[in-house]
Symmetry: C2
Subunit: 180 residues, 2 copies
Amino acid sequence: MAQKNKLQFIILGLLNQQPLTGYDLTKAFDTEIGEFWQAQHSQIYPQLKRLEEQGYVTHEVTVSGAKLEKKLYHVTPAGGDLLRQWITVGTPDLTATKDEFILKLYFIQTNRDPRLPGMLQEQLQLHTDKLAHLQRRLATVFPDEALIKDHFGHYLILQHALGREHYYVDWLQRTLAALP
Amino acid sequence: MAQKNKLQFIILGLLNQQPLTGYDLTKAFDTEIGEFWQAQHSQIYPQLKRLEEQGYVTHEVTVSGAKLEKKLYHVTPAGGDLLRQWITVGTPDLTATKDEFILKLYFIQTNRDPRLPGMLQEQLQLHTDKLAHLQRRLATVFPDEALIKDHFGHYLILQHALGREHYYVDWLQRTLAALP
DNA sequence: TGAGTCATGTAAAGAGTTACATGATTAA
DNA sequence: TTAATCATGTAACTCTTTACATGACTCA
C-alpha cells in the first residue's frame, strides 16, 4: 500500500451526512473540505464503485428531466461501521506540511537576498485572500450560533483553519517588517 | 504530469549547499527539511540518476575503507540555473494541508461526542512533543545568533514551523477547555 | 441556439510508499 | 563477532493529477 486510502473514509463521512452523487462529492472537495483534502472526479467515481463492490455504499438511480441519470449514493450499515471505526482509532501520524514556498525559503542564504521581499509579499497577498475567504465562509456556513451545536466538527475545523491562516499572515508581516 | 516534481528542486537545493551522497540526502529529508517535505531513498536514487542524465548534477565516486563506493553528487552550472529559476518564479498555489485528524473532526456532529476529549488529548500530546522537538532543533542548529546571518532561510522556516506548532497546541488546549 | 453547468465515466502518466535485495564499515 | 549504521539500488503497488470522452439540462 502507498498510503491508507483516506479518500474512502472522507467519502463515507460526506455520504453519512446525506446521500450525494459523485458530482456532489466532487464539489464538496472544492468547497466543504477543500481546505483539508482535495480530490478530482476521476478519483471519486472509481472509489465509489469500489466502495459499492465492498458493500459500504449503495446507489439508486434518479432521473432529472427527460433522461439524465444521476446515481445517488447512500452509506450502508457496514459503511457506517467502517466510518465510525476510522474516526475512533488513534491518529498518531503527523504528515509533513508540503508548503512549496517554505521550501524555497529554506534555500535563501541571507536576509539581503533581493528576491525575499517580493516572495514574502506574494505569499502575504495569497494568505490574506485565503483568510478573507475563510472569514466569508464561516459567516456563510454559520450565520447563526445555534447552527454550531449540530455541526460542531465543521465549526471547529473552519475556526482552526482561520486561526492557522491568521498566524501565517501575521508571521509574513512580521518577517517582512524585520527585513533590512 | 501528476504534480510538478518538486523533489528535483529540493535535491538541487541541498546539493547546492554542499556535495552529498544519496544516503546523505535521504537523511536530510528526515532531519533538515522533514518538517516540510519527505522522501524515501527509493525515490531519491532514481531522481539523482535522472538529474544526472539531464545534466543538472554530476557525481564522483569515492571509496571509504577497502571497497565501499560512495557517489558524491555535485550541482552543475545548469543545475544551479534551474534551482535559481525555481526559487525566482512565483509560488501562487497554496496546497491543501492534508491533516487526517482535522478530517476526522469534521465528521463529529456534537460537542458531546464521547470520543472528542480523547481525540483532542492525543493530538495535544503529539503536537506538544513536536513543538519541543522543534525547540531543541532551533537550539541545536542556531546555538549562536551569529549563525543566522548566513542561513537566514533555514532560520526563518524553523521559526515558522515553531510558531505554527505553537498555534496548534494553543488551539487544542482552548478547544479542550471549551468542551462541556 | 449557445454558453455554462450538471453528470459520469476511462486512460495515461507521474508522485510517493512499502517491500525486496545486497553488501561494507564501524564500534562495542 | 555481532549489531547498528552506512550505502545503493530495484520492484510492486497505491495515490493523485491531467487529459480524453461523452452527453443532458438550464437559462439568457
